[in-house]
Symmetry: C2
């Protein structure tokens, strides 16, 4: 409500419109969507009427954002954690263009294809921005006739969804994908994907999490024995997938009213999909009198049993649970599917809507590559995607809470002087530092004040300052100052590089 | 000609169209553009007529490309060299969306704006893909009212130019930008930009290079004293910029015939722009009877003199030269401009068109941020952009020549077994390795042959293999094999992690 008041007050201003506009833009990053849109419309109207043509509207497109140096420092730590895990598991990386041929994307996302961004027809091919990294990966495998590949790919994807900053949903966001393509013995790569997911969520220190697992074959088996015609399976998976947003009662209603399933069938499904548990549940389901009739479900359950054995060997079984309600939205999954959710108690200070939401997901898609191959050659695949935008929001909020200072640049040494006319000497010194691989800065002033130089170190977290003046020049030394302790030592100019390198080791920069 | 033959033969096939089509697509990456386009038209016609709807055309959009794991390994080394230099100079990083509001981009590129990719109007804002990283940076500074910022940004940009793989010109390519924004003492940040460019080109080991420098103010001074009206300056800079593609005679003709400059004026310009040299030339120009009349040219020359002093202190003067013909294409430059070219003798084996072309460029743009600011507040900026695609082509070709083996994954240890039924034990071992941060793989087979496992090490460059079998299990040891020397040692299971870490140090992986 507070924001609305600010907005109303703002709207009544009539002068200094562009400034007002920019302030509102800044605020709007933190506003619920509807309010922002109303304000936007009002303001663009006024802007168009009053402002000169010289200044274009200063904003980023809806659903996208800039990242400041501070945010980038946090994000790069997250990416580096994720990449080192992917590399630890022997993955290579590839890159594909940000857009693909439109027809190539249109056919692979079912209903969601309406959210694809298209490029304007400016002559030439019809193009669309990629919707995920999985379809481009499958296209890459088919195009290059690759039968085996373990790759990771960290890149931006685009969805014309209704954005919600609050829920961490954007139109441009980064996916971190790890996939294993190839025909292998059952469940070994699948288990590794879950181990990768577990390692990353552990390393990012976002608190307790649970990895829910299911198998599309088990779900399909349940649908079949409950009398659902096969044509409705995909639709039902989409509906079930809403369980993390709406209640089971609402999902049931939607199945009856929108998907056209009879109440009896829904009750039958209901009995199964509310089950969750570990190896005990698998054993029970393997003996379920109705399920044993269904070959597909039995295959899925046998594989699930094997998977749980492997996850026990990998030591991650405690954070994993079979959830028969897990469906995953995308059409291309064919076997095991999984999704990681954070357990909320550790994040009580967080924006509520960030809690209990999926932060990673994935599964097996054995048929997708074949769709691109002219002869329909299959390349079975299994993979995972880390929902880095949501994790970023959580880690950013945690950092704000802890008031932990994060450096946005890595500079190790500032070259400073207390006297005038030392620019030339400083330039020679800093040049030696750079050439020795030391991260160094100096102020871009001919004669800065010493205080200003030392303040710059304190503000930006530079641990060491080299101070050179008349005295030091005459004595053939440089003064080395520890910015935090303010202790100073004199070191001979001839070996100052080695001495600085030696001292930098302890700062771990 | 060889390719054309292949194509004709291919076009006469009537069966197995999709396969033929894919082969041609593969070939087309190496074909001159026109031939490819003819083939494309023929083939899409046949494809549409004959092929089933199931297989979309398997290609990437025109002017774009996938990068294989091997190419990515080379590219990541290049990026890491560039980023560590940017960080050594104290730069932070930011990120901006891949698209911006269309109106924001349209006004800033002059004639080149026709090459901007627009997004389709799907309701909502009109958007375009970014054309460079400089305009988004200026928009970011103005929007956030930032007065000082040293940032780097490595990201993809988009230009609907006619692509030429041969010349290393793509429609999607990465720019590596480093910029210093803020009001500082003259030429200090400018000199650092040139030092950064010099460090990067040296570190990438692409052979000898020359950094050509000029100043837009000097050029404008020359145009003025040669009697050119100011309105033609921008146009003349564009024409002059073609000097690295066409001869001076052709540029002169274009100036006369297309830009409408009189032959006398062109001769006057000609006398100046053919000059190049070092501090001596600057001194000469500072005394040039015609130039001394022009305030702007004198300002530019005084700054140039200062810049050369700084570059001498930075120790990079030998690779720098004042070239009065250097103009740079983009409209937003206001002061010093520069461009680095490789000197060809070291690359005689290279594709000729890659030689002698600009691999880095930049300059000062003091007015761009003000264009976005409602009150026209100036934030002077100077920066550089590394042409990483061209450097990548050169380094890739150099690597091919040297037959140097490049690893595409970083795996340090393979967990192998000579016997059947050891999967569970291997899984426990590998899990301990992963948890200790060691990069480890195993084959995704229950019972792989030992030979196959060792071959995998040799093929992918994994330096160590852990071998566990019945004997080792009973003795409480693991066998550690150096893949290259084939020497094996037994180490106790209880401290195998420490032992492996110790041994890995010498492999520097």
């Amino acid at each position: 409500m507070q924001w609305v008041t600010v907005l109303r007050t703002a709207s009544s201003w009539t002068q200094h419109l562009p400034v007002q506009f920019r302030i509102l833009r800044l605020l709007s990053n933190h506003l619920p969507n509807q309010v922002t849109e109303v304000a936007e419309k009002q303001l663009s109207h006024q802007q168009n009427a009053g402002a000169s043509k010289r200044n274009p509207i200063l904003k980023v497109p809806k659903g996208t954002r800039d990242f400041s140096p501070l945010q980038m420092a946090i994000r790069e730590k997250i990416f580096s954690t994720i990449i080192s895990c992917f590399k630890r598991h022997g993955a290579m990386t590839i890159d594909t263009p940000v857009f693909e041929l439109k027809e190539l994307l249109q056919e692979n996302y079912g209903e969601e294809a309406k959210l694809i961004y298209d490029l304007e027809d400016q002559g030439g091919e019809m193009l669309s921005l990629r919707y995920d990294l999985t379809v481009p990966f499958a296209r890459f495998l088919a195009m290059n006739k690759i039968k085996r590949c373990k790759r990771y790919h960290i890149a931006k994807v685009y969805r014309r969804d209704s954005p919600s900053i609050k829920k961490g949903r954007f139109r441009e966001f980064i996916q971190c994908d790890f996939d294993i393509a190839g025909q292998y013995d059952p469940m070994i790569p699948d288990a590794e994907c879950l181990k990768v997911m577990h390692e990353i969520l552990t390393a990012l220190q976002v608190g307790d999490f649970l990895i829910k697992i299911n198998d599309r074959r088990i779900l399909q088996g349940i649908f079949t024995i409950c009398g659902i015609p096969e044509i409705k399976f995909e639709r039902l998976c989409s509906t079930l997938d809403k369980l993390d947003k709406i209640s089971w009662e609402e999902v049931k209603n939607e199945m009856i009213l929108e998907d056209g399933i009879s109440p009896e069938c829904v009750n039958c499904i209901s009995e199964y999909v509310q089950l969750h548990g570990g190896p005990g549940l698998i054993e029970k389901l393997l003996k379920d009198p109705k399920l044993v009739q269904n070959r597909l479900a039995m295959e899925g359950l046998e594989d699930m049993k094997l998977l749980f054995e492997y996850l026990t060997l990998f030591g991650i079984i405690d954070q994993v649970s079979l959830h028969l309600s897990l469906a995953r939205g995308l059409a291309y999954y064919t076997g095991v599917i999984y999704e990681a959710v954070l357990l909320c108690h550790k994040h009580s200070h967080l924006n509520e809507s960030l809690n209990l939401r999926s932060v990673a997901g994935g599964g097996r898609y054995d048929e997708l590559v074949a769709k691109f191959d002219s002869r329909g050659h299959k390349v079975p695949c299994v993979g995972l995607s880390i929902g880095v935008e949501r994790l970023f929001s959580i880690i950013e909020q945690n950092n704000e809470m802890s008031k932990q200072k994060i450096r946005t640049r890595e500079t190790q040494v500032l070259v400073a002087t207390p006297q005038k006319n030392f620019l030339a000497f400083k330039m020679k010194l800093i040049s030696e530092l750079w050439n020795a691989g030391i991260k160094a800065e100096m102020l871009y002033k001919k004669n800065p004040r010493l205080l200003e130089q030392l303040q710059y170190c304190e503000e930006t977290g530079i641990p060491l300052a080299i101070i050179v003046g008349e005295q030091e020049l005459n004595d053939g030394i440089v003064k080395l100052r520890d910015v935090v302790t303010r202790k100073e030592v004199n070191i001979p100019q001839e070996n100052f590089i080695e001495e600085i390198k030696r001292r930098l080791e302890k700062y771990n920069t």
